[in-house]
C-alpha cells in the first residue's frame, strides 16, 4: 500500500517537473493573441493542457517581469480583467523555445 503510494507520489513529482518547463512554452504560444487569465486557462484546457489558477497567475507574472509579456487592465462585460499578450521579446523567445522544443521532441521520439 505504502509502496504504491510512494510510486504515485514519485510519479506526480516527476510529472509536475516534466510539465513545468512545457507550461511556459504553452502559455507563450497561446498569448500570440491577447487573452485574460480565465480564457487562457480554458484555451489551454481545451487543447488538453489543464493548468490551475495557482500555477498560471504566478507564471504570467514571472513571464511579464522577464519582459516576455505585456499586460493591461481593461473592463469587459462590466468586470475589470487583466489582458496579456506577447511582447516583441516574447515573440522572439517563443520562436527560439519552439525550435528547441522541436529538437527535444524529435530526440525523445528516437530515444523512447
Amino acid at each position: 500500500m505504502s509502496q504504491s503510494n510512494g510510486n504515485h507520489d514519485l510519479f506526480e513529482n516527476l510529472r509536475l517537473e516534466l510539465r513545468r518547463g512545457c507550461l511556459s512554452l504553452a502559455v507563450l504560444s497561446q498569448l500570440r493573441t491577447e487573452r485574460y487569465g480565465y480564457t487562457l486557462r480554458k484555451a489551454l484546457a481545451e487543447q488538453g493542457l489543464e493548468i490551475d489558477e495557482g500555477t498560471l497567475y504566478p507564471l504570467l507574472r514571472r513571464l511579464e517581469s522577464q519582459g516576455l509579456l505585456t499586460s493591461e487592465w481593461r473592463e469587459e462585460e462590466k468586470r475589470n480583467k487583466r489582458f496579456y499578450r506577447l511582447s516583441p521579446e516574447g515573440k522572439l523567445m517563443l520562436k527560439q523555445l519552439g525550435a528547441e522544443w522541436q529538437k527535444i521532441n524529435s530526440s525523445l521520439k528516437e530515444i523512447l
Binding site: 485574460y36 487569465g37 480565465y38 486557462r41 490551475d52 489558477e53 495557482g54 500555477t55 497567475y57 504566478p58 507574472r61 487592465w73 468586470r79 475589470n80 480583467k81 487583466r82
Partner: protein
C-alpha cells in the same frame, strides 16, 4: 460570495505587500468567472458546498500565496551542506564527550560530578546551534561566495583514501614508539617492591607485578600487530578483532590499576614521615579519581576499534564502496591475516 471573499482575504494576508491588490483582483476575477460559468451550466445559484469545492481545488490560502513569492531560504543550497557538516561535527564533538563524561561520573563517582550537569549540556547545544545558524544566515544574506567554487581544480582535490588501509608510516611509528616506551617502562617499573626515583623511595604494592607483566605482554602484542600491519597494510577482521581484544584488556587493566592504591609509601630525607603518609594517601586518592576520565578515554578508543570492525564487515557484505579498497582488500582479507 461570502466564502469567496473570506478565501481571498485569507490569501491576501500572505501576499507581498506591493502586489496584494493586483493579485487578488486577478484571482478574484478568475474564481468569479468559474462560479458564473458553473451557475450558467446548472441554471441556478451555486450552493455553499459547491463554491467550497471550487475553492478547495484552487488550494489552501497559504499555498496559493506562496506561489507568488520568490523562493526564500535562511541558508541556501550552496552553504547548506557546509552548515549541516559544521553543525553535526561540532554538536557531536560537544555532546558525545560531555554526555559520556556525565554518564561515567554518574555511575562511577557521583560525588564529584561537579559542574557536569546535563542541563548545562543542553544549553550549550542550543547556544551553539543558534549561533552557528545565525552565522550561516548572515553569510547567506551578505552573499558570500565560496572562493573554492570558482577556483577548484580536479588535480587539487584530495586523493581517495581507503579507510581500511594502514599507513606504513603509522605502523613504523607505532613500532618505534612501542619499543622505546616499553624499554623505558621496563627499565623504570621493573616489578620490585621499591623504586628509587631522584632520591625519593617509592614503595609499590605487590599487586603491581600482575599489572606490570600484563601491560608488558599487551605492549609487545601491539608492537607485533604493528609489525604485521607494516607488511600487510590492510585491516582484516582478525587483526581488527585482536586490536579490540588487546585494547579491551588494556582498558580493564588500566581502570583496575587506578583503583588499586598501588602506592604503599614514599620516603625521602627531606620529607617528614607523617607528611609522606599524607602525600601517599593524597596521590592514591587522586589517581583513583582519574578513573571516570580514564573510562571515557577507553570507551572512545574501544568505539573506534568497534567501528573499524563494523566497517570491515560492511566491506565484506557490500563489496566495498571505494574502488581501490575492494581491489586491494581481496588478497589479505581472503587470507584472513
Amino acid at each position: 460570495m461570502e466564502l469567496l471573499d473570506r478565501y481571498l482575504h485569507a490569501i491576501e494576508f500572505w501576499l507581498p505587500k506591493r502586489q496584494k491588490q493586483d493579485i487578488i483582483a486577478e484571482l478574484s476575477e478568475d474564481l468569479r468567472s468559474q462560479i458564473e460559468e458553473k451557475e450558467a451550466e446548472l441554471g441556478r445559484k451555486l450552493q455553499n458546498e459547491e463554491v467550497e469545492a471550487i475553492l478547495k481545488r484552487c488550494g489552501a490560502p497559504l499555498e496559493v500565496a506562496s506561489r507568488y513569492r520568490p523562493q526564500q531560504y535562511l541558508i541556501g543550497p550552496t552553504l547548506f551542506p557546509i552548515y549541516r557538516f559544521v553543525l553535526a561535527v561540532a554538536l557531536i564533538g560537544c555532546v558525545v564527550p560531555r554526555f559520556l563524561i556525565w554518564l561515567v561520573f554518574l555511575l562511577v563517582d557521583p560525588a564529584h560530578r561537579g559542574y557536569l550537569h546535563i542541563e548545562n549540556m543542553w544549553a550549550t547545544v542550543l547556544y551553539f546551534a543558534f549561533f552557528t545558524t545565525v552565522a550561516f544566515a548572515i553569510a547567506e544574506r551578505s552573499g558570500v561566495k565560496l572562493e573554492a567554487l570558482n577556483t577548484w581544480n580536479p588535480r587539487k582535490l584530495p586523493p581517495v583514501r581507503d579507510p581500511n588501509r594502514i599507513s606504513r608510516f603509522g605502523s613504523l611509528f607505532e613500532i618505534a614508539a612501542g619499543v622505546v616506551v616499553n624499554v623505558w617502562f621496563a627499565g623504570i617499573f621493573w616489578p620490585q617492591p621499591a623504586v628509587d626515583f631522584y632520591g625519593v623511595r617509592i614503595t609499590i604494592a605487590p599487586v603491581w607485578q600482575v599489572f606490570f607483566w600484563s601491560f608488558l605482554f599487551l605492549a609487545v602484542a601491539n608492537v607485533a600487530i604493528a609489525g604485521v600491519n607494516l607488511f600487510r597494510p590492510y585491516w582484516t577482521p582478525r587483526r581488527a578483532g585482536l586490536r579490540l581484544l588487546f585494547d579491551g584488556i588494556g582498558a580493564g587493566l588500566f581502570c583496575g590499576l587506578l583503583k588499586a592504591h598501588l602506592l604503599v609509601g614514599i620516603s625521602a630525607s627531606s620529607i617528614p614521615a607523617a607528611k609522606a603518609i599524607e602525600l601517599t594517601n593524597l596521590i592514591n586518592t587522586w589517581i583513583a579519581r582519574m578513573l571516570p576520565w580514564a573510562i571515557v578515554t577507553m570507551l572512545v578508543i574501544l568505539s573506534f576499534d568497534v567501528y573499524r570492525i563494523l566497517r570491515l564487515r560492511c566491506v565484506h557484505l557490500h563489496g566495498g564502496s571505494i574502488g581501490p579498497a575492494v581491489k586491494d582488500l581481496s588478497s589479505p582479507m581472503v587470507n584472513g591475516n
